[in-house]
């Protein structure tokens, strides 16, 4: 019994240590050298902005500390804030150099290269001749797709599952002394070994523009892409939170490239180009036994006589069949019920 109590105490202490390690207030202080949380820790810190929108300035410390930017100091991004209390802060420029040193090059870290990739992609604001594209304002900027993502670690000890593997951490601690470093490094690496968002989440993100009828019309797109994806088995499975199912990026980004390098389906280098697209479905992780024909499946088929005329009339046949069968039968059912409930009504003289 006493041993059991001891065990409880040890387990309790372990929990406390784990909690402390996970939420890591020490690190919070490290990132918050300017003591910004003195004010921003209050959940009610908010106001109505000049454009009439509600703006919340509360920073949830524990959430922030589990995000990919946990190590970046507030002043690292909000460079215009010099004094406290401060004037309304400017929008953050995601391309600035921050104080973090990128370990492989030992240079100051910046997202500038990502912006360069983006400028050559289908989402670029300028065309090949560096002239602004039509409706360039519709093209996404960093914050249109990204928030401050949370770590989404994977456990790799004996089996793969979500979360941090305590078993694996023991092996890290042999060499690395700082738990703060171990946790961050573990999170940093394993979060990137899978997608940071679920397929449903990614589809919803793309849908913010690609399902907007105005954007679809302005850019002459043939489909509300996320809507039509949602009508496929992939999309339906994604809506049931299946993590294994392909999302927009799995098909539209060339293998081994970043989403920021996504190309138009009209670009011969793109995986979605007519003669390249067979490689999308037949890759080793999806349908390796399939022939290139599988890629002719119209993922973005819509019930529209202009976009997919054959499929449209095929569906019309089934709608007619359904209506043509059920409506008369329902009519008979209704009349039958009426006849049974009011058997003595007389319309004509009968024998």
């Amino acid at each position: 019994m006493r041993e059991y109590k001891n065990l409880q105490t040890v387990a309790g202490m372990a929990m406390v240590i784990l909690m402390v390690a996970l939420f890591n207030p020490g690190e919070a202080r490290a990132a918050d050298v300017g003591n910004c949380l003195l004010c921003h820790k209050y959940p009610g810190l908010s106001r109505i902005g000049e454009e009439g929108k509600f703006r919340l300035f509360y920073v949830n410390e524990s959430v922030f500390m589990n995000s990919v930017h946990a190590k970046v100091k507030c002043e690292g991004c909000h460079t215009d804030i010099q004094n406290i209390p401060h004037e309304p802060a400017k929008k953050v420029d995601c391309l600035m150099e921050c104080h973090i040193i990128e370990p492989s090059s030992e240079q100051k870290f910046s997202h500038k290269e990502v912006a360069e990739f983006l400028s050559k992609s289908v989402h670029a604001k300028l065309d090949e001749k560096q002239n602004p594209k039509k409706y360039a304002e519709d093209m996404p900027y960093c914050l249109d797709c990204h928030d401050n993502p949370l770590f989404r670690p994977l456990s790799f000890f004996k089996r793969v599952r979500p979360g941090i593997s305590e078993m694996a951490l023991g092996r890290c601690r042999v060499c690395h002394k700082s738990d703060e470093f171990i946790f961050r490094f573990y999170n940093h690496v394993t979060t990137r070994l899978h997608t940071i968002r679920s397929p449903k989440n990614i589809a919803e993100m793309c849908g913010r523009c690609h399902d907007d009828p105005k954007v679809v019309a302005r850019h002459n797109l043939t489909t509300k892409a996320v809507y039509s994806y949602g009508e496929t088995f992939h999309g339906k499975a994604a809506s049931y939170l299946d993590e294994r199912i392909p999302d927009c990026l799995d098909c539209h980004v060339n293998r081994g490239k970043s989403v920021h390098q996504m190309l138009s389906h009209e670009d011969p280098l793109s995986i979605t180009y007519e003669t390249n697209k067979d490689a999308i479905c037949t890759n080793i992780e999806c349908h390796p036994k399939a022939t290139p024909r599988l890629a002719n499946y119209k993922v973005h088929m819509e019930f529209d006589p202009e976009q997919s005329p054959k499929e449209y009339y095929f569906k019309i046949f089934f709608i007619t069949l359904t209506g043509g069968t059920l409506l008369p039968l329902m009519g008979i059912m209704f009349l039958d019920l009426f006849r049974r409930l009011f058997p003595n009504i007389r319309i004509t003289r009968r024998k």
Binding site: G230, T232, F233, K236, A237, S239, Y240, L241, D242, H287, K289, A290, T291, R293, L294, A295, N296, Y297, K298, M301, S308, K310, E311, F314, K315, F318, I319, L321, T322, T325, L326, L329, M330, I332, M333, L335, D336, L337, F338, R339, R340, L341, I345, R346, I347, T348, R350
Partner: protein, 302 residues
Amino acid sequence: MEAYRIIKVKKGEKYFFRSTVNQRLQHIILATCVIVLVLTGMPLKFHDAFWAPYLYSLFGGIKVAPIIHKTAGCILMLLFVYHIIYLSCNIYIGQIAPLRKKKELSIGKLLKLLATQPLIPNPKDLKDIVQLFKYLLFLTDQKPQGDEFTWKNKFDYWAPFWGVPVLGISGLIMWNKEFATRLLPGEIINYALIAHSDEALLAALFLFIWHWYNVHFKTSVFPMGTVFITGYLSEKLMVEDHYEYYVKIMKKAGLEHEILPPNESYEREPAEGKMVREESDATSADENFKTMNPRKGESRND
């Protein structure tokens, strides 16, 4: 004497033979598979509906429900194949073989024989439908006097007969997309999805509204018909739906004096003291039934 066995008397009421144990088992497998398929399929078709995630979770969600769906689909397809074999054997053994024995079989006779199978629609059905509309619109009090299988029974039989292959083949294409697109263009999956999803909705609505109304929910049967379990239909319902056949059976059984008038089944108590021989074994009744009417032996859906 043997002909009496198609009428069973229990607690003074007559029950009329409708289907063998084999046929009832086929129907129960069909019904169970269809219900499971609808419950595991509709949350995918209507994945945006508020109820869909709850229903899908009940079947294990996206990881398990598709396995259940495919299993039920396979059972249903096997049942369909079995039913075709069962039907062919019955027609061959019961009807074609005797003709061959007598050396009377010709192509004309064979076609006529196939066209006059009890579940094949015939002019009498059209007459019954016209009569039904007259009755439903209060133009007459005379209900259609249905034969052994009414046009509703035939509708109920041929609907799954068309539906199962459509759903089965389209389902197999989507399941084995790699193999299917080796033989056919990739667009076939689009067509398969449309056919599978729309035909399934039609089948589900047809069965759960029309079929269930006619066999369970109409006021004379409510709350539940039992013929799919017992294989026997009560005299009341026999008079209501199959009057022509009822009269035929009663006459054959020598019970002319007990025949109830049409449309009056609700108003009259069953005749007392004129019991026919009690028969509790449905399968032996089926044997006798075949003797009496050698062309029977098909699956029925009512």
